[in-house]
Structure formats: C-alpha cells, structure tokens
Symmetry: C2
Subunit: 457 residues, 2 copies
C-alpha cells in the first residue's frame, strides 16, 4: 500500500495530466459548502476509458484511493478525496459521442455538463430534462442520482440513464444496460451505479434518454397566505394528473430575499412557481385547471404566461434563489439541507422546520421541489463561526429526524457524501449492511471513493 | 446439506402449510410454456414475513433451495424449482396493507394479483397501471420486472415500485426505499431486487406507486399495408411527445387469428391499437394528432372512440390475441419470444423476424408493445414434437441474436428464467460476472432460486 508508488506508475501513463500543482490540489480539495479542505495527493485528467482502467489497476495494486470529480458542484462533499489519493477529474472526457434522434437517446462522456449537452441538442428538437440548478457534469449527476426542478415530470437520473460504461476497482470495463427502452435481462446494474457516488466504480460513458422539446411552455406564479394551502394545492394538482413540468415552492423569507437580490416585487408570502409543457391547447388547459385549484385554496395573483421572456425571468429568479438567500445575510456561507417526505406529510414537515428555524439563532429560507415532497432550507452561517455551524447542523439533524419519522428519506437529491453518512443506519437498518456487502464484493480493496457511503468505509 | 432435514424443520413451523401432496407438487412443477415438468420437494404457504425469514434460516442451514411462486404466469420458467427444495407459494400473503390516497401509493403483500389490487382501488379514483396481460401476482411482477401494454406511458415495475421488504438467504429482513417519491440515500436496492427473479431474496411486501384514473380514455385502431409505415407512425408519435397510454402492434397473421377466434372483422393487415388517457379535451387532441400521423403514413380505417364498451372490446381482443393465435393452430402449444430493440431498428427487426418465420416450418404471429421497441412472436408447435420445438428454439435464438446485433436486449419483459440464461454472456459480457459477484455476496450458499440468472448458478 503506497500512494507514492502509485503516483510514479500513474505518471508514466498520464504524463503532465497527473498534476500535483498547488492550484489543482486546492481546487479539488475545496467544496461548495461547509466541509473542511481536503486535498488529494494528485489530480488526474484522463482522456480515455482505457486510461481510467489502467489507473484503477495501478491504484488497486497500490491501495491508492480514486475519487471521481465532475464539475465540483455537489453539496455533500462527495468528491472530496478525504483519504487522499487521486482526484479523477473528468473535465477532458466531455464529448457527445452519439445523438440518435429517432431513438431519442444520446451517448456522452461523464465530464460533459448538462448545459453543454443541451446546447449541442438545440437544433435537434430534443433536450435532456434533468435540471439540478447547477451546471453539473452528467457523470456527477448520475453518480449522485441528481434530480431538481423537473423531476416531477421527467424523473431523476435514475429514470433517465439507459446505460453506463463503468471502470471497476480491478480495472475491468463493463457496460450496463442497452439502448433498448426497457429490459428484463438480469440485475439492474445501471440502477446500482446511478447514485453509488463513485464508491463501486467510475462512470466513463453514459447513454441518456432525451425528450422532445415541448411545442408550448407556459409558466405561472401565485402566492398564498399560509404554507398549508400551498401544499394542498400541490397535492390536488398531482392527484388530478396534471402533468406539471415544474412545481416549486418558495417561502416568504425566500420571496423577500429574491426581491432584495433581483429587484423583484413578490409579496412576502409563500409562493408556488409552476411550468407546463405540452401542446398549445394542452398547456392552456393545464394552466386553467391549475388556476382553478389555486383559487379553491385561496391562492392569489395567479397569472400564467407563455411568453419566453417572462418564463425565463421566472426561472432565473428560482435558480438564483440560492444566491439571493446567500446575499440576504452579508458575508454568510450556506449549509443547504435536503429532505424528502411522502407528500401528505409535506405541509407538516415544512411548518415544523419553519418553526424550528424561527426559534434558532440563524436564518434559513425554505424552498423546494414540492411536487416530489422534496425541500431545502438554506441555513445561513458566518464563515468560521463554529457556534453557528453547530446550530445549522442541529437544525439539519432535526430535519432528517423529521423526514425519517414521517416515512421519508434523509436526502431527496443531494446524496450522502460526507454530510449524511451518520443517517444511513437510521434510514436503512440492516439494508445498510447489504450495501456494505455489495461494496466489498465489487471493491474489496476499498479504493473507490473510500470513507463514503458504507459502514466503516 | 439435506433437504429431508430441512423439510422436518419446516414442518414444525408451517404444519400442514408445508404440502407434499401430488396435486401441489404437480401444480408447482408445471409452467405456462415449454419447459419440462420440474416439481419441488414440497410447497410452502407462508402467512407472514416472520415465517418466510424462519424458512430462509432453516433452508440456508440445510442447503435447501427456496424458489418463490406467485401466480405461475411467467413465460420463462422462473418459478420452477429445478434443483428441488421448496416452492414458496405466496398466495396466502395476498392482502392490501395500506392505501394512501394523498400520496398515491399503497403497501401490499406479494401474493396479491394486479386485478385484485385494481378491484380494491376502484372506489379511490386510483389504479395500478402496470399491465402484463396475465393476472400475475405483484410479487412476481416485481421479481421479473414485468411491463406490458401500458409501459410506454406509465413505465415498468422498475418505475412503479417505491420500496420493498425482502427476506434474505440468511433470514435477515430488510426494507428498501421509503414512501418518499425520490431519494439519493445510498445504493438503489429496490431496483436491485426488482428483476432479480428471486435469486437475491424473497419479496414479502411491496410499496407501489398508484396513478389517478384518467378523466377520459379513448382508443383507436388502424391498419397499414406494410409493417414499415406502421412503425414509422409509432416513432413519429413518440417523438411528438403524444403521451400514449398504449400503442400496440399486431401483424396480419394475428389479425387473421383474432378474426377467427373472436368473430372480429379486421382487415388481414398489420394494425396499430392505441389508447389515450387524459382530460376530455386532451384525449380528443391526442387522437386528432395521432390520426394525422397515421394518415401521413398511409394508415387506413383510423377511428377513435371514447365509448367504454368499444374500448373494452378492443383491449379484450388485444389481450386475447395470445389465445387467438394459440387457437389458430389446433392443439398447438406456444413458445412466446420476447425481445426489445432501439425503436429506430424496430421495423427492420420485425421484418427480418417475419421473413425468418415465413421460411420456417411452424407459424408464428407477431405482436408487441411497439412504443417501447418490444415485440413477441407466438411460435406455435405441436406438443411433444421435438423437431418443431427445436425449430421454435432456432427462430427464438435468431431473434435474440438480431436484438443484440441491433443494440437491444434478449428480453424486454419476460425475463431470463430458464429460457434466456444462455444469452447473458452475449448481452452483458463482464457485467454478467458482476451480477455473479453480487449474488455470491448476498446468497453465498446459493439457496435462492438456484440454477437461475448467474453463471454456473
């Protein structure tokens, strides 16, 4: 077991694409949120699957950790090489390999970002729908089972990855899935690697489902006096089968932050922001039906628009809500929580969280993808203020306890990484041990993103 | 390793719910298709998860195989206890445990059939959409990753199981998933057990997604002179994003068989049969748009109806197509093939298969769920005619070769069972070994449905 020996062997393959520069180590040792600086021993920039396979063989032989790195946008420290070793930066494996318009699928490399993919697709009439907000890499999105605003209509990465090429710890290269839309041929390995956070292997290629760009899109926003009726509106909308493309909640504090940040003029109340995709007549009908449900629940100011500039403004606001919240407390850094509950418990979960934060010493606007029962608090702390960070962790801890008590999950979309490992036992019980058995079967030496996901990792 | 000792211990727990009667062994030793009679040593009828867990402990201790049995409707011999041991018949674990209308989910036992569930749901306005044709058990449907006519709209079992309770080989009882709609918390064990055909554990409880019964339903049928334009119609329809609830293909031979069997009067040509779900205005718009695509491709006789009795007649015909094809050759038994290809290759795959069957010594009408690229040939052979069975196997073999050559899968929905094990290497390569590693990690003694799914099983 020797990282230096691994580095020597890796350098022979990668040359100057194995970097130990301070700037590279710094970049890959930092994260989007509150986890401490944890630099790898080196950063590798592979160009091919073959190189990744060679890296895995070398690193397995020398017990040197391999931790994948996409765009560095994850929120739970997944990509930090906390046991040292190699940060495998996929930014130079970022090509679109195939687009198959008739089959509505594409084959891409893991370092490609979702915005880059959608730019390439623009002329085809197709798009890739999963939208976590950040311009994440597609390999990272698959590894963390990302979702976001459009999951209520188009599903998460679980639903949109048809197949993978994966390099295993021992250097074998496997292909999971096919380009057929469904299969009953064996264990669902695609589903196993999606969400495995790089602990079972490194994704080197993805086959993704694409969707047709909708003929028409309309968007709407409306305000409610209380959280309860906003959530009731969501439940009834989902039950009616209205195929919402997005249905987002922001609380009064978020509305206020957005007003201050973006010069908007939302009433300082809970809001729903929604989007409809379909035919011209279809989105009109959806908007009318949704509007009637909003009115039944006392929602105010409902207005819908299919003008692109108005829609775009609305979603720019929603996507910037994180930055608006950050800016609402000068100099603050954020811990962004993430939980998901059965939708019948959503109002209760949001209200309890709201009250808990109101009684705390730090602010925490709430917003989320409520069509899925998924929401976040953006807990705003002073950097280097240990007491505030502890307070944020306590609030987050109680959110997770609340989610599990209500039959939900510790994380709807951000994943386990470093921040949620302590909840795996509570959420999964003996099933967590089964995950450990699978990990040990596929990565007996523990070189794939060690310290993450499984017990005693 | 002793099956008799296991039986003695099991009898103490189960009493007369462990049966060795000839009729029970006969029933559980037979299958819906051509695999030889393979009776278990005994049939168990557990009532509780605890009993199943005790059975697993006893059987693991004595090396006695455990093979799950739902409704016995599978088509690849999955449920045959080919190494003897216990056939675990879940027919007495068939209760609906919970229906949560607000969350649109339910919790059921594995022996409940899909028709029983939908009867119980009728008053709620909800339904369970996966429809493989046969009135299969929900545990069996999950274990085989069943799909069927509605998968194009509502997905397969992969997409409709939120969580499971599973008894592992060593008797541990685990829960996978939660009632939250999505989660990023750890490996997707739910997805791993769905489609594992009982080789990793026995499913004792399922949490299923439900859908709202559509406000309006309409159905249509149309004929084409050739297969090509029928398939082109399907591709264009999917690309337009028309949310088809069903889009089924039957060939001219199937149309003829249905005419003879059900007194129908379809032209003896390739047909598409489709169904639309939505609002009144929505289904009308969908039907008009689809009708225009049909006309563009020279389809004939397009007519749509939202009258329940006409729709019902249409789908009764489609669901009885299997029996109509069987009846088209007196005294015949059927080998039902199943493959799935990228939709761009569908016309070619169907045409090649059509030509291959036309040159063979046995008839084989073709029909399928073409919105997914999935189709079947119903190869009609005389019982006990070894030469014809060999001919059917050769045709099926070439269908699989064709599917794999075209980037598809050896089975879209029927699963591996006994019939497709020989194709796992060709389809999955080294990924098949990974499945074996997972199997050995979770079932080191090989008691869970031995002889199936993995290499050297």
């Amino acid at each position: 077991m020797s990282v230096p020996e691994a580095l020597t062997a890796l350098e022979k393959i990668l040359g100057d694409r194995l970097s130990r520069s301070k700037s590279d180590l710094d970049l890959h040792g930092r994260n989007e949120t509150y986890f401490p600086y944890a630099p790898p021993d080196a950063v590798a920039y592979p160009l091919t699957t073959r190189e990744v396979a060679q890296m895995a063989q070398i690193c397995s032989a020398h017990g040197c950790p391999l931790t994948g790195w996409g765009a560095g946008t994850s929120l739970e420290g997944h990509a930090l090489a906390i046991r040292g070793g190699i940060s495998v930066d996929f930014s130079r494996m970022n090509r679109v390999l195939e687009v198959n318009p008739q089959d509505m699928d594409c084959v891409v490399q893991p370092g490609l970002t979702r915005e880059e993919l959608n730019r390439e697709l623009r002329a085809t009439g197709l798009f890739f729908p999963v939208d976590p907000g950040a311009n994440a890499s597609l390999g990272g999105m698959a590894s963390t089972r990302a979702s976001g605003t459009t999951a209520v209509r188009y599903g998460t990465m679980r639903d949109n990855v048809l197949g993978l090429e994966v390099v295993l710890a021992d250097g074998r290269v496997i292909r999971t899935g096919t380009r057929a839309r469904k299969s009953a041929a064996g264990y669902d390995l695609t589903g196993l690697f999606v969400g495995a956070e790089g602990t079972l292997g490194l994704i080197t290629e993805l086959t993704l489902k694409l969707r047709g760009q909708p003929e028409a899109v309309s968007a709407a926003v409306c305000a409610f006096d209380e959280i309860g009726p906003a959530v009731e509106t969501v439940i009834e909308t989902i039950q009616m089968g209205i195929p919402m493309a997005r249905i987002e909640f922001v609380d009064a504090a978020t509305a206020a932050a957005v007003n201050a940040y973006a010069g908007a003029s939302f009433p300082e109340l809970p809001h729903l922001m929604v989007e409809f995709h379909g035919s011209e007549a279809g989105v009109a009908e959806q908007a009318e039906t949704f509007g009637a449900i909003v009115a039944d629940h006392g929602g105010k100011g409902f207005d819908w628009s299919s003008r692109p500039e108005e829609r775009s403004a609305l979603w720019t606001i929603r996507h910037n809500a994180y930055y608006a919240c950050l800016a609402s407390r000068k100099g603050a850094t954020a811990m962004v929580t993430d939980l998901c509950v059965p939708i019948s418990r959503l109002a209760e979960a949001v209200e309890e969280t709201r009250a808990d934060i109101a009684a705390a010493t730090i602010p925490g606007p709430i917003l989320g993808h409520v069509g899925d029962g998924n929401f976040h608090a953006i807990l705003l702390v002073e950097p280097d203020n240990a007491a505030e960070l502890e307070e944020a962790k306590r609030l987050s801890h109680r959110m997770v306890e609340r989610a599990l008590r209500m039959g939900g999950t510790a994380t709807g979309e951000h994943g386990i990484g470093m921040g949620k490992l302590d909840y795996m036992q509570d959420e999964h019980g003996d099933a967590w041990d089964v995950m450990g058995q699978i990990k040990r079967a596929l990565d007996p030496g523990g070189v794939m993103n060690p310290g993450k996901m499984v017990r005693g990792a």
